[in-house]
């Protein structure tokens, strides 16, 4: 496989950027060696790497793209705003439009604030919970990702013991453990931050058990804890009006990002009326947080989601894709099952707890131009059409045959 341009770029990067590339696609993430390092362009559900190889995409910029790369409606809205500018001394009125749209769209929300990344606002939200309750501790699920800040990041560097002194953890779906924590730290827990379902890396996704969310709500109410929904990854892919609607519960605060701007960097936190005063007490700012392009993109993206029933659409497409993929794998005697909701499936091969087989599967699929990530849940974009799904299945069959020959 020719990767010379990609390798040349990586060589240059290594000299000026620590580790060459950081984050999800850093070399340390253990991605297949035939994955490209750099992308050149993208459209719909496909992208081309810098070596001009075309890929069918199943990661959507790690969830940031819901309507497909360079969606015309969203690009048009951004182009309009481009004529006026992005960053000013004051925010653009688009900020109010966006807040109003979110409040109209999300049933429990009565105010909204904006930033750039999920982490900006998950961290801010736990401070709002502390301000509101006057308590210190925050509970989260073990293995859940809530961002890059020291209280929750998955890395080890630069960490000091006090970073997580007031963070408690329980195992997802283990309500008894959550109860025990609230008893042990009675009167000291400010809030509970959870994703709509459990989507750890390197492990199958876990949906909430029946009554899980109802129990969580009840525990929060009883203990006067703020329930924070981290909807950064799932937002827009389970329900157009927030993932809490998909699972039937109501949080106090919810944080969105990723799909919100369809690739334009923006995050939002919405909350209940009784948290408004605390929200205004917790400092919040960033040099480019009032970026009007991203706000224009977010308004267009939210509008499109409602008009085209996008969450429902990606769930249906994901279901079709997942069941066909499972079938193709089973024909080759590979016990592959897709876990999690169909719009954000994560593959799991039974008996392959250390992921050697899944890594091999993704590597062979990458040779055929399929961007399947072995360690992170995949994302279905609304631009994934029948033609792309059919092509994907043909390529998977080919990859599995080659994989079998090598084994």
């Amino acid at each position: 496989m020719v990767r010379s341009i990609s390798e040349t770029f990586f060589e240059r990067a290594g000299k000026v950027i620590p580790g060459g590339i950081y984050g999800h696609v850093s070399p340390g993430a253990g991605l297949p060696e035939n994955f490209p390092h750099y992308c050149h362009d993208a459209s719909g559900c496909r992208f081309r790497d810098v070596d001009a190889k075309e890929w069918i995409d199943f990661m959507c910029g790690f969830g940031a793209v819901l309507h497909g790369f360079r969606n015309p409606c969203i690009e048009k809205a951004v182009e309009e705003q481009r004529k006026l500018g992005s960053i000013f001394n004051q925010p653009s009125p688009l900020m109010i439009d966006l807040a109003e749209r979110l409040i109209e769209q999300i049933d429990f929300a009565q105010w909204a604030v904006f930033a750039k990344n999920g982490s900006d606002l998950t961290t801010w939200a736990i401070r709002v919970a502390r301000e509101q309750t006057g308590k210190q501790y925050i509970i989260k699920a073990t293995g859940a990702y809530h961002g890059v800040d020291a209280w929750c990041d998955p890395g080890f560097g630069g960490r000091i013991s006090s970073d997580r002194q007031h963070i408690l953890e329980f195992k997802w779906n283990q309500i008894d453990q959550l109860e025990d924590l609230t008893k042990k730290y009675s009167g000291k827990v400010a809030g509970l931050i959870l994703t709509p379902y459990h989507h750890p890396s390197f492990s199958p996704s876990e949906l909430p058990l029946p009554q899980f969310w109802q129990n969580v709500e009840e525990i929060c109410n009883r203990n006067e804890m703020i329930l924070i929904l981290d909807d950064v990854r799932c937002g827009g892919r389970l329900h157009d009006q927030g993932s809490h609607r998909y699972f039937g519960f109501s949080p106090d605060l919810a944080v969105y990002s990723k799909a919100l701007g369809n690739g334009y960097a923006i995050s939002a936190c919405v909350g209940r009326e009784d948290l408004r005063e605390s929200a205004s007490e917790v400092f919040l700012t960033g040099s480019c947080w009032n970026d009007a392009y991203s706000m224009a993109a977010a308004i267009a993206s939210l509008k499109l989601s409602i008009e085209s029933k996008v969450a429902q659409s990606v769930l249906i497409k994901g279901q079709d894709f997942s069941s066909r993929l499972e079938r193709v794998a089973q024909e080759q005697k590979i016990p592959l099952r897709m876990t999690g909701p169909p719009s954000m499936p994560y593959p799991w091969i039974e008996g392959d707890n250390n992921l050697f087989e899944l890594q091999k599967f993704c590597r062979f699929c990458a040779d055929e131009g399929l961007y399947f990530h072995p360690h992170h849940n995949w994302f279905i974009s609304n631009s994934l059409d029948d033609e792309a799904i059919n092509e994907t299945m043909d390529k998977v069959s080919l990859a599995l045959e080659k994989m079998k020959r090598v084994s």
């Binding site: 060459g20 992921l355 050697f356």
Partner: protein, 227 residues
């Protein structure tokens, strides 16, 4: 062992264990050497073998960093013959490590040294030791060249994290492969950025990546001390 004191002398123990690792590798490759197993002694001293040979922490670290330092002369009064043998063993380890004519041997010895130092950090790092709490069933297989597995790094109830010669019967959960002796050698000498090397395909990783990630963090800590 007193953890607070050990934390303060972790660098010395890691270096001493690295030297011992080199010795173990040479022994496994048929070299005849006198035992140089290290011990941390009171008063900031480190001893080797059963000879009574000891260095001050400072002198020992100076030796490892490429200089020369005298062992404490009083060591020689107790058992001069054994002391001399231990000194010769230490010198032999040093000469093999620095002789790059036999690259495969030098690479294996240096890598083993680095792995042993890493294991010290994995066992005794007070602040970060708990990130390995859930990894006690993990096993990292380390190899040089395709399918040429050399060591397994895993946890034992007695002894904690250890490095042992590869055994096919040992079930591994992650694999780390240096694609050539040259890559292994450069890596062992701290002349190769491991993350970049993975991105360039010089080092291949597979299996349970979070464990490799944790191992890598400790390995980089060890590397900073050794080089």
């Amino acid at each position: 062992m007193n953890c607070v004191k050990l934390e303060a002398r972790l660098n010395v123990l890691a270096c001493a264990q690295a030297v011992y690792g080199s010795y173990l590798q040479l022994k496994s490759e048929g070299f005849s050497l006198t035992n140089i197993s290290p011990r941390l002694l009171p008063n900031n001293q480190v001893g080797f073998g059963n000879s009574g040979l000891k260095f001050s922490d400072h002198a020992f670290l100076h030796t490892v960093k490429g200089g020369f330092a005298c062992p404490q002369l009083s060591s020689f009064f107790f058992d001069p013959l054994r002391c001399t043998r231990v000194v010769f063993s230490l010198l032999k380890v040093k000469s093999v490590c620095r002789n790059y004519d036999d690259l495969p041997l030098s690479a294996r010895v240096l890598l083993r040294a680095g792995l042993e130092a890493t294991v010290v950090f994995m066992n005794f790092h007070e602040r970060l030791g708990d990130i390995l709490r859930d990894e006690k069933k993990s096993c990292l297989r380390i190899g040089i060249g395709e399918d040429n597995w050399v060591w397994d790094l895993f946890y034992k109830d007695v002894g904690g994290w250890v490095v042992k010669p590869y055994q096919a019967a040992q079930k591994c959960t992650s694999k780390l492969e240096f694609t050539s002796f040259s890559v292994a050698h450069q890596s062992a000498l701290g002349k190769l950025n491991a993350l970049l090397a993975v991105g360039q395909g010089k080092i291949k990783i597979s299996g349970k990546i979070p464990f490799i990630d944790k191992f890598g963090y400790f390995a980089r800590q060890a590397n900073r001390i050794l080089y």
